[in-house]
């Protein structure tokens, strides 16, 4: 029991996170103060939300490189709607719908035209950002151009945590339920794990991939608002390159890039791991110039560890081997 627990990816990752936090605490005890940990979690919320969306896509053997651009476009639209005086609930609805629609564009190209997702999202990634430029002429929307309510919502504290963190928790909960308890959630695994067999069980590969892109897009849309409201600024380049962080979080969390395998807990912990590193480096007094190299090494170590724990299992033809296993 214990040995199988140690072998699970999630356990390894959880252990790694604990070690990491402990090491930081050694140098800087205040890091583990509950309030600070809450702040780190809040900070990591966008990454967690996006990693879950990306997980849905990766499970189906696809990849969504356009998430950050989608986020930026939805965030900008949120800020513009706010400028027009649209009430917050309507803005929230709008960005989620817009994000889902942008995801649907990706999904449709993948589903109906069978274009590899990496090509599609490489293209839409530049197109989405370009659209922001066309919408705004490249102009920024700054804090003073946003209403107080718009900016206050994600940071409003509720039971000691900002709303942003609560939203992330809610998304994690819903997503976990969705993955474990809905036919579509299970279909994601089926499509990526064995596309051939998925057809035999009546699961439509293209439609499932489409759905995954829509989910990823909707979550990116939601995050777009949170991001813009939190940092109180919107411009073409917000969250530039963030898609790689999102993919990295999934990889660290053990979501198999070949599809069909991974867990919600893994994705969340992968995101947390990156988030903790990002937050801790300045605190621990490591030069910010080390950050990139450290996160790169982390990704490499994570892949190696995952590959080992997934290591090819024998097919157990020998009866004696079956007993040993």
């Amino acid at each position: 029991m214990l040995s199988s627990l140690l072998k699970s990816r999630e356990a390894v990752l959880a252990f790694a996170i604990l070690v990491l936090v402990a090491l930081i605490a050694l140098r800087f005890p205040a890091f583990v103060a509950p309030s600070n940990l809450a702040a780190v979690f809040t900070d990591t919320s966008p990454l967690i939300i996006l990693a879950l969306g990306q997980m849905a896509v990766i499970l189906t053997k696809c990849i969504d490189l356009s998430v950050a651009a989608n986020l930026a476009l939805c965030g900008m639209v949120a800020a513009m709607l706010n400028g027009m005086g649209v009430p917050l609930p309507a803005i929230l609805l709008a960005v989620i719908v817009l994000g889902a629609a942008l995801g649907a564009v990706n999904g449709l190209l993948v589903w109906t035209l069978n274009i590899p997702s990496i090509v599609v999202t490489l293209g839409t990634m530049t197109i989405f950002r370009g659209i922001i430029f066309l919408l705004t002429d490249g102009k920024w929307i700054n804090a003073h151009q946003m209403s107080a309510g718009f900016k206050a919502f994600p940071r409003a504290a509720f039971l000691g945590l900002p709303v942003m963190a609560w939203i992330a928790l809610a998304v994690v909960g819903c997503f976990a339920l969705f993955i474990a308890r809905t036919p579509l959630g299970r279909a994601l695994f089926a499509v990526g794990g064995n596309p051939h067999a998925a057809v035999y069980t009546g699961i439509h590969i293209g439609k499932t991939q489409f759905a995954a892109f829509v989910i990823s897009g909707a979550l990116a849309g939601l995050t777009g608002y949170l991001w813009v409201a939190r940092y109180a600024v919107a411009y073409v380049d917000i969250a530039g390159g963030f898609e790689l962080d999102v993919v990295a979080a999934c990889v660290i969390g053990g979501i198999a890039i070949a599809g069909g395998a991974g867990s919600v807990a893994g994705a969340v912990m992968g995101a947390l791991f990156l988030g903790i590193i990002k937050n801790a480096l300045p605190v621990v007094g490591i030069s910010p110039f080390w950050q990139l190299a450290i996160s790169g090494s982390t990704i490499l170590i994570a892949i190696a560890v995952n590959a080992r724990s997934q290591g090819k299992k024998g097919r157990i033809i020998l009866k004696q081997a079956e007993h040993r296993a």
Binding site: T136, W140, A143, Y235, I238, N279, P282
Partner: protein, 306 residues
């Protein structure tokens, strides 16, 4: 046909440069036969700027006035531009001497360095810990100002610079770096952000951390972007030169150099229209004007302008 002057900025979409463009247009109108090409890369990279400059060379524009993303990387391309008879100056963020005829500093670097420290010190009679939040590690102007600031530090006893971090002129990164500063240095009294992106993000982070009153955010920023933070008290005061004036002056200088009625050489004085004359030093550099300080008393007056 009109003289074509290209105003090349670090990246499109930044409020500061948009304002500079307004000034350039103003100068063009005043001069009459000048067409302004406002351009720049999408993100703040030297490679992007080089592509833009190459296409300007191809168009045989008459003058290029550039705010550089990298002091050195643009030099070969700008040299080529000058070989093809184009007048090249840099403004705001300079290029190395070989790559331009002259450089227009918004203000003298020493003065800016001094101002940003003074802004912090004015509100810290007892002294205290101060941190710097800069733009990218490669920004020429920020690096120069920080150097100058460190030089004048002995004049402000008690002011102690504990860290310099880089927000890369990205709002979210600057925000996170500020959070890191607030945690690492619980006794921090002020954050100096000599960049318009950084100062806004830092002020926001200080507000979110509930440290208004204990940590003062100051540095260089745009009144329109900082108005809210001055009101909230996160920033007591900050400084900036007028970017409109800067764009205006750069255009004027480029015009006169291209026309040939002025020469860029040490000691020369070149007219900047309504901004007076600029005097070049041994490096062919000149300063436009003193930075101007904004606080609660005058912010409303300027926040609608730039």
């Amino acid at each position: 046909e009109p003289m074509r002057i290209a105003l090349v900025v670090k990246a499109l979409g930044i409020g500061f440069f948009e304002a500079a463009n307004k000034g350039a247009e103003e100068a063009a109108k005043e001069l009459g036969d000048v067409e302004i090409i406002y351009t720049g890369p999408t993100d703040t990279t030297a490679e992007g700027q080089i592509e833009v400059i190459n296409s300007l060379i191809a168009q045989k524009v008459d003058a290029i006035a550039v705010s550089a993303n990298d002091t050195d990387a643009l030099v070969p391309t700008l040299k080529k531009a000058m070989e093809r008879g184009i007048t090249v100056i840099s403004w705001d963020s300079g290029v190395a001497k070989d790559g331009r005829l002259m450089h227009l500093n918004p203000s003298s670097s020493a003065l800016i360095g001094n101002t940003i420290v003074k802004l912090a010190a004015d509100h810290l009679p007892e002294g205290g810990d101060v941190a710097i939040l800069s733009a990218t590690t490669t920004s020429t102007n920020q690096n120069t100002w920080i150097e100058e600031a460190k030089k004048v530090l002995p004049n402000y006893p008690g002011i102690n610079i504990v860290a310099t971090v880089y927000g890369d002129d990205l709002a979210d990164k600057s925000y996170r770096e500020t959070q890191g500063l607030l945690q690492t240095y619980p006794n921090l009294k002020a954050i100096i952000a000599p960049t318009s992106v950084g100062i806004v993000a830092a002020a926001q982070a200080v507000e979110d951390a509930g440290k208004v009153g204990s940590v003062n955010v100051t540095g260089l920023g745009l009144p329109s972007e900082m108005a809210g933070h001055v009101k909230s008290g996160a920033s007591q005061s900050f400084a900036i030169w007028n970017p409109i004036d800067l764009g205006y002056s750069a255009t004027m200088i480029a015009y006169h150099l291209a026309k040939g009625d002025a020469k860029a050489e040490p000691g020369a004085e070149i007219s900047m229209g309504r901004m007076g004359n600029v005097k070049l030093d041994d490096n062919n550099e000149g300063a436009m004007a003193d930075p101007f300080t904004y606080d609660a008393s005058n912010i409303d007056q300027f926040s609608s302008i730039f």
